[in-house]
């Protein structure tokens, strides 16, 4: 199996064609870099347009790549199979939506280094696409690192904002730790099977069942468990979810929106490839672990969301809960379940980015102001915005006929027919809690009067996340000026309550943000219309994976 002669491989034209979508995104990255040089300060928002065009062109190229025969490329390191293309489509859609929200948000939050922001956002998307298309443990890891490194920087991009710095730092340290687990696990798997290619591992394990029980079984099992830890961290499954709320809350909201969706797509597709496909024969061993993690994640994720009064943070916890539903599909491990996983990811992308999108429009200049109180009476102040938010929240809660309902339906249906009935029941019960915390925002928007008059400013809710930093900063959390002008304004506000008026001010929505919201609402509501072809494509892609 292992060649003795020095390894050489010459890529063919076909290889390059199969990574055409990735190449286009890369080209857009370069174009963004160049455009950044040319555009004057203040017009950097157009960089988003470059990225959006790149995402659209890349998305169109998916159709072409889909028509190519065969999938494997670059000596089997990468595949352009249906699953990869589906995931790439979802990632590109998320990228496009996040880019549309960005210009006005960055301007309002006064985030400097706009050029880097756009470049890094696209690079992380590239990493996600690579990870989702990886057909080899090595490529999985390269893709993962590519997306993670870009995200570390993006989280910490608002340099003057302590919370963002904290988020970036935490994410970096914990994620590196988890990556180490993952890499170690991969090397042990290589040790046990002599292969890093995902199909090769599967083939080896299928052929050597007997050998496993003797010599190198433990090697495989330890490798599996370490990889599982790494993946569970990346998809923020309990008990490896602790970083999620802090990082998601601290990062700029556009970044949160994108990473909450994109990393899930990439990591879950890779998880499915590695565990459901490569380690298919070991299903009996890893299935109980994923089962337990899925149950924990669904229950704890939903329970923790219940007490959140900050919408951004609530959405962060809800992404943990959603990871739980997706793990149900992994635990079921049937072609139908993998198809439902893909469908869920697509639905989750539009509704979650949409919900974050509304949240970032409600957010104030100082990066705060996303509590429930800030949503009070939004239905009166901004009917369109509130209606959009309501659509997203109903979808997240799984109310028909939205995309979120269908997604949950497919996942739980796959679990029911895949002999995971208890898991489906637990999932459905856990998602009942979701009704409470999602619809509470709807209630605030439509049934509560806008918070009138005086509202104490600069008294952020007690966030444990900050306690840590607070300790480091000698407990000077409240006093630590995030930026001189904001400090000034909040001081002024304490004297004269001016800032408080903000809650009753109409929120201005830029054209690009409005476009993104319209697209997200339309997709959330209309997915039911093209659910059959989408699901059929996912099913075909998933069953191809199993052969």
């Amino acid at each position: 199996m292992l060649a003795q002669s020095p390894f050489t491989y010459t890529p063919t034209g076909g290889d390059w064609l199969r990574i055409l979508p990735e190449l286009i995104v890369l080209a857009a990255v370069f174009a963004t870099l160049l455009a950044d040089l040319a555009l004057p300060e203040g017009r950097k928002g157009w960089l988003a347009a470059v990225g959006v065009v790149g995402a659209i062109v890349s998305g169109c190229s998916l159709v072409y790549v889909n028509s190519l025969s065969g999938a494997s490329a670059f000596f089997g390191m990468i595949t352009s199979d249906g699953v990869a293309l589906f995931a790439a489509g979802v990632i590109l859609l998320s990228l496009g939506l996040a880019l549309l929200f960005s210009p006005s948000y960055l301007a309002r939050q006064k985030i400097a280094r706009v050029g880097e922001y756009y470049v890094l956002l696209q690079l992380s998307a590239l990493g996600m696409m690579l990870m989702a298309a990886a057909n080899n443990l090595m490529t999985v890891f390269v893709g993962l690192e590519m997306l993670s490194l870009a995200l570390y920087i993006l989280c910490a991009l608002p340099q003057t904002r302590l919370r963002s710095q904290e988020a970036g730092m935490k994410y970096f340290i914990l994620s590196s730790f988890a990556s180490a687990f993952l890499l170690y696990g991969m090397s042990l798997i290589y040790g046990a099977t002599g292969a890093t290619g995902i199909p090769d591992i599967g083939r080896f394990l299928g052929a050597h069942q007997a050998a496993l029980s003797q010599g190198f079984g433990p090697l495989l099992f330890v490798g599996m468990s370490l990889m599982l830890v790494g993946f569970c961290f990346k998809v923020s499954a309990v008990p490896f979810q602790a970083w999620t709320p802090d990082v998601y809350t601290g990062a700029p909201t556009t970044v949160t929106a994108f990473m909450s969706v994109g990393t899930k797509v990439a990591a879950f597709v890779a998880l499915a490839r590695v565990f459901v496909i490569a380690l298919q024969t070991q299903n009996a061993h890893w299935e109980p672990v994923i089962w337990a993690v899925a149950v924990l994640t669904m229950i704890v994720g939903n329970l923790l969301s219940v007490t959140q009064r900050d919408v951004k943070r609530m959405l962060a916890y809800s992404s943990v809960a959603n990871a739980g539903y997706l793990l149900v599909a992994i635990a079921t491990a049937s072609p139908r379940a993998v198809a439902s996983l893909l469908f869920y990811l697509a639905a989750y992308a539009v509704m979650n980015i949409g919900a974050f999108g509304v949240t970032l429009l409600v957010e104030r200049r100082d990066g705060r102001g996303t509590t429930l109180e800030d949503f009070n009476g939004l239905g009166r102040r901004n009917p369109a915005l509130a209606a959009a938010m309501a659509v997203f929240l109903f979808s997240l809660a799984g109310v028909p006929p939205t995309a979120g309902f269908l997604a949950k339906y497919f996942v739980f249906y796959a679990a029911m027919v895949g002999n995971q009935v208890p898991l489906a029941i637990i999932g459905i019960l856990a998602s009942v809690l979701g009704m409470f915390y999602y619809l509470r925002v709807v209630w605030a928007m439509y049934f509560v009067e806008p918070t009138p008059g005086v509202r104490p400013v600069a008294l952020p809710e007690r966030e444990p996340a900050l306690a840590a930093v607070g300790a480091a900063a000698n407990g000077a959390r409240e006093e630590a000026p995030e930026s001189p002008e904001i400090e000034a304004s909040s001081l002024a506000a304490q004297a004269i309550p001016v800032e408080s008026v903000l809650t009753s001010v109409r929120i201005r929505t830029s054209a690009s943000s409005a476009a993104a919201l319209v697209i997200a609402v339309a997709l959330t509501l209309l997915m039911i219309l093209f659910a059959s072809p989408l699901d059929a494509y996912a099913q075909a892609a998933a069953s191809a994976l199993f052969h």
């Binding site: 008990p239 061993h285 704890v300 329970l303 923790l304 219940v306 007490t307 306690a467």
Partner: protein, 657 residues
């Protein structure tokens, strides 16, 4: 063969969406043009469909287009398909044609209403739902249209929602209609079981299928009977048959065009359509037709008796509608399905016209609906009067008006049926004749009291615009009469003409309609038989007797106030509508309310509320507890990561041994 049905549906839907979204901002003229225009387009398309249908051989007059597959679940498919066959073609023509005239009438009638745009949006929605109902090619989309017209009816009865009585009437109609929807749903479940998931007419009813499967070979008789009866529950609720009729008289709270369109001409005939559509199921379970006959006969007689003592002009017509619907079902029960549809068509003409005339009178008198406060309007509202007479003669089935031919086709069908089976059908025929007499009586009572004699009401306030006010000498109580404008009168003339000559559709000898409908709805009677002529004569005599009695008592325009003193008990009995509403109140409404109160205060408060609150509190405290783990300290997070890894590792090592 052309099948433009999708576009017939689309036109009113576009109108509804356009008016619903932007109507508020549009000028009235534009609203009127859109609202009427889309229905006219639908009518034109329906005519085109009909012409192309007439161009092909009768056996091929079925066209089924599938627009898309709505649901696919395992082997269960529900396509969104539309059927064009003679029956649906006739229904579509009635719905869009009469519907269009009523739309035009509404322009005049609703002239000053602030909800003008809303009214037209709802009317267009109704036309859409009704066309869906009659054009669907499977039972599930029938149900969609069925519920849709129920919703439209609710919205339009409660159109003046600030009136408590209108809101209550709307609610009542909705509740009763939902009972019918429920019946239809049960029927669909039974069909689903019997036909292994097939709900399309092609499979179930054999429409457009070369080798139709006999229902008796599919399901046992009991199931077929249950299907037919539950379908009839649906039909009875929609078509106001006993005992689900209670909503129709109250529905007169809606604006008069609504009464004309929904509660006389089209929606209430949905039940008649359903029975004709599913006639193969009904004939396969003969007992069900007996049930239909009994209910229909009882309703026809019951409603006609009540109509004789009502004093509200619209309520008289409402009861008359019930009674006529009873006729249609009687005809169908006797196997004359095409006769039922024929009467449906002519009834749509003359009953819509009656309501329009009543609307014109109400409009003229500034909202007065009590016939005791009318009288002597013959000369002032001459046009309306003559049209009222024409439509009244059609309703009373006097030669040669439309109703004469259609009603007597039904009576003939019953008589034909009676000659082949049982004495019960003779009894039904007798009820039919008796009701024919009552019909002549109550409708001419209405006409005489309203138009003859002297005016008895309060002086009519001058028209707000002044434009339509009739000139008159000072002191004339009718000086402020609002004369109906062109928008009101034009559709009335058209319907008047149709009421006069509508019978030509199916004259004995030519039988245009029965022949056309033959592939979709069989007829029972050879209309040239001697039997039929006998029946014609008998029906005519009964109606003339009824009119003669009405003339003798009200011919001079006497107010009907004196009645009660003379025949006391019977009239009170009829006035209270045979105490049916009171029975409902006592036997159903009150016990349910009492039970609900008991559950609300006894069970809900003490047991369930406490339980669910406790559960909520438990979740809350659990959540707060878990939140404590989220310390924010990096070292803690790392530790949990590490511990989690250890647990998983230990597990794997354990299983590997």
């Amino acid at each position: 063969m052309l099948n433009l049905t999708p576009f017939i549906l689309l036109a009113p839907l576009v109108g509804f969406v356009a008016l619903g979204l932007f109507g508020r901002a549009l000028p009235r003229a534009v609203i009127a043009v859109i609202g009427c225009g889309v229905v006219l387009i639908g009518f034109a398309l329906a005519v085109a469909d009909l012409i192309s249908m007439l161009g092909v051989a009768p056996a091929q007059r079925v066209s089924d287009v599938t627009l898309w597959t709505w649901i696919t679940a395992g082997t269960f498919h529900v396509p969104f398909g539309l059927l064009s066959d003679p029956l649906s073609a006739v229904m579509l023509l009635v719905v869009t044609g009469v519907g269009f005239l009523i739309h035009v009438y509404s322009i005049g009638y609703m002239e000053g209403d602030p909800g003008f745009w809303r009214f037209f949006a709802f009317l267009n929605f109704f036309v859409f739902a009704m066309t869906l109902l009659v054009a669907a090619d499977n039972f599930l989309f029938l149900l969609v249209g069925w519920a849709g017209v129920g919703l439209a009816s609710f919205l339009l009865i409660g159109f003046w929602y600030t009136r408590a009585s209108a809101a209550a009437a709307a609610r009542k109609a909705f509740v009763v209609n939902v009972i019918g929807d429920f019946g239809l749903l049960i029927a669909i479940f039974l069909l689903f079981g019997a036909y292994h998931g097939a709900l399309d007419y092609r499979t179930v009813l054999g429409i457009g299928s070369a080798q139709a499967v006999a229902p008796t070979s599919v399901a046992p008789g009991g199931v077929l009977l249950a299907i037919a009866l539950t379908l009839f529950v649906a039909a009875a609720a929609k078509s106001a048959q006993l005992p689900l009729h209670v909503w129709l008289p109250d529905a007169m709270e809606g604006p008069t065009p609504v009464s004309a369109l929904i509660h006389a001409a089209t929606m209430v005939t949905a039940g008649v359509y359903l029975v004709a559509r599913a006639h193969s199921l009904f004939t396969a379970a003969p007992t069900s037709l007996v049930v239909v006959a009994v209910v229909a006969g009882a309703t026809a007689f019951f409603a006609a008796t009540i109509a004789c003592v009502q004093n509200d002009i619209k309520r008289i017509l409402a009861y008359s509608t019930m009674s006529q619907l009873g006729y249609m079902f009687m005809g169908e029960a006797a196997g004359g399905f095409s006769s039922g549809i024929f009467h449906l068509v002519t009834h749509a003409f003359f009953k819509a016209l009656l309501f329009m005339c009543a609307g014109a009178v109400i409009h003229a008198l500034g909202g007065e609906q009590d016939i005791r406060k009318m009288g002597g309007l013959r000369e002032r509202l001459a046009g309306t009067f003559w049209l009222f007479v024409v439509s009244g003669l059609a309703l009373a089935a006097i030669f040669p008006f439309a109703g004469f031919w259609s009603k007597d086709a039904i009576l003939g069908a019953i008589l034909q049926r009676a000659t082949t089976g049982g004495a019960g059908w003779y009894a039904l025929y007798a009820v039919g004749l008796l009701t024919a007499g009552l019909t002549g009586f109550y409708i001419f009572r209405l006409i005489f009291v309203t138009f003859f004699g002297a005016y008895r009401g309060a002086p009519v306030a001058a028209a707000h615009g002044g434009g339509h006010a009739a000139g008159g000498r000072a002191g004339d109580p009718l000086a402020g009469l609002h004369l109906p404008g062109l928008a009101l009168m034009a559709p009335m003339w058209v319907l008047g003409a149709l009421s006069l000559v509508g019978g030509a559709l199916d004259l004995p000898g030519s039988q245009l309609l029965s022949d056309f409908l033959a592939p979709a709805a069989p007829s029972a009677i050879e209309l040239t038989s001697a039997l039929f002529w006998v029946s014609l004569a008998a029906g005519l005599i009964c109606a003339l007797v009824g009119i003669a009695i009405a003339w003798s008592r009200y011919g001079q325009g006497q107010a009907p106030a004196g009645d009660e003193a003379r025949v006391g008990a019977l009239v009170v009995f009829l006035r209270r509508r045979w105490f049916v509403d009171d029975l409902y109140e006592g036997a159903i409404v009150r016990p349910i309310l009492a039970l609900s109160r008991g559950l609300r205060f006894g069970v809900e408060d003490d047991t369930l509320e406490a339980g669910s609150r406790g559960l909520g509190d438990a979740v809350g405290s659990l959540s707060a507890g878990l939140r404590g783990l989220q310390t924010g300290f990096l070292r803690n997070y790392t530790l949990t990561l590490f511990l989690g890894a250890v647990v998983i590792l230990v597990y794997f090592i354990a299983v590997s041994q």
